[in-house]
């Protein structure tokens, strides 16, 4: 009996020492793991989506390997609708090694516009949930998460068609000059084809025109477009239907009444 008790005592003591030393050294070595998040970059992905890239440098100077490094980004609108979700996973970061990874997340504006067209014309804010998780010494899972607000700049902010001015074209038609104004608040330069259909009265197509516009980010655009319309369409009320074509998105019609 005494031998058994002594054996249990020795085993318990040894296991306690091992457990405490391992736990403390694992937690202590966590302070030697360095994370460096670089400048986020916005580009165009090969499939014409907006690509956010975040370079991450992990420098493991701790005593143990770090396992299951995972970065997850969830972007949702203010109503909680998830727009995009992306993860970057590194299975093992060996001790003494430095790893550079790039966390990439894409936003498909076409999918975004199915939820609301306001993303094209109004600035808003998106909710970003960033989660970073690792396994210290490959056995102690640690997770850090934070919520951020990402400002969304509308590429066609405050898009308006101004009052038309008419000049004679020939005996039956006049040229209507329609002013176009908007500001590109997006984080990318915009090259957009704007196609305008002019309808008079009850859906009678009286003219159409197209223009190509290029605006740098955070730049206002003031331009105009010319449409040839029948003389008898002058003075009537109606509406414009505007279509936008870009490499990022296609949208239309945007209905703007006139008269």
């Amino acid at each position: 009996m005494k031998i058994l008790i002594r054996m249990i005592g020795i085993a318990t003591t040894l296991f306690w020492i091992f457990l405490i030393v391992f736990f403390i050294s694992a937690v202590y070595s966590a302070k030697d793991i360095g994370f460096d998040f670089g400048e986020p970059q916005v580009d165009l992905s090969p499939d014409n989506k907006i690509l956010f890239s975040l370079p991450i440098t992990i420098d493991n100077k701790g005593y143990y390997d770090v396992g299951s490094f995972n970065v997850t980004t969830e972007i949702s609108d203010q109503e909680g609708f998830m727009i995009t979700r992306a993860s970057t996973f590194i299975p093992v970061i060996e001790k003494g090694r430095q790893i550079v990874a790039t966390h990439k997340d894409t936003i498909d504006i076409n999918a975004l516009l199915q939820k609301s067209q306001d993303y094209l014309f109004k600035d808003t804010e998106l909710e970003v949930r960033e989660t970073v998780s690792i396994k210290l010494a490959d056995v102690i899972p640690v997770q850090a998460s934070t919520n951020l607000t990402l400002p969304w700049g509308a590429p066609l902010y405050n898009f308006t068609l101004g009052r038309s001015e008419y000049s004679r074209f020939n005996g039956t038609h006049v040229t209507a000059t329609v002013p176009i104004d908007f500001e590109n608040h997006a984080s990318f330069d915009l090259a957009v084809i704007i196609r305008v259909y002019m309808y008079a009265g009850t859906n009678i197509l009286v003219g159409e025109g197209q223009t190509t516009v290029e605006t740098l980010q955070n730049t206002p655009y003031h331009g105009q477009m010319e449409l040839d319309i029948p003389v008898d369409a002058i003075g009537e009320s109606g509406h414009f239907e505007v279509y936008f074509f870009t490499t990022f998105f296609n949208f239309g019609p945007l209905v703007i009444p006139y008269g």
Binding site: T12, V27, P141
Partner: protein
């Protein structure tokens, strides 16, 4: 009379030895605690109340250890050892919130999953408790045999 005085002296000497042993154990335990807390200080500062929780654990544990040492040679020694093991299990389970420890630093929330550590610590605590129970049984057994002879 001289025999009685010698017995009294022996008992006093034995008790003094117990006190010395308990003091040494307590000092060593506290020394290890201070040494380890120095290593863990940068990490523990980030967790609110962590130092306080560990200090309470150390105080109660050292108290039970000293009392257990002073009552050595009686059944109470084993009771206090068993109490020490049970205290370790229950205190760890309560303070570590079932193994999921969370805190908020600035705008970020931090969650540490210590369930594996907790399970191993509780198993070791149970092993310590089993050892104390076996020691108590062995003690009573030896005492009964001693009385029979």
């Amino acid at each position: 009379m001289a025999e009685e005085k010698r017995n009294s002296n022996d008992r006093l000497q034995e008790f003094a030895l117990k006190i010395l042993k308990a003091t040494i154990k307590g000092v060593v335990f506290c020394g290890i605690y201070f040494l380890l807390s120095m290593f863990l200080a940068p990490v523990l500062e980030a967790v609110p109340n962590a130092l306080q929780i560990i200090e309470i654990f150390v105080v109660v544990y050292v108290f039970l250890m000293i009392v257990g040492e002073l009552t050595k040679g009686s059944i109470f020694h084993h009771f206090f050892n068993a109490a020490k093991a049970l205290f370790s299990i229950l205190y760890l389970a309560l303070c570590l919130n079932g193994g999921i420890v969370g805190t908020t630093v600035q705008n970020a929330s931090l969650v540490v999953d210590l369930r594996l550590f907790l399970v191993v610590a509780m198993l070791l605590g149970l092993l310590g408790f089993a050892k104390s129970v076996l020691q108590a049984i062995n003690f009573l057994n030896e005492k009964t045999e001693h009385m029979r002879f």
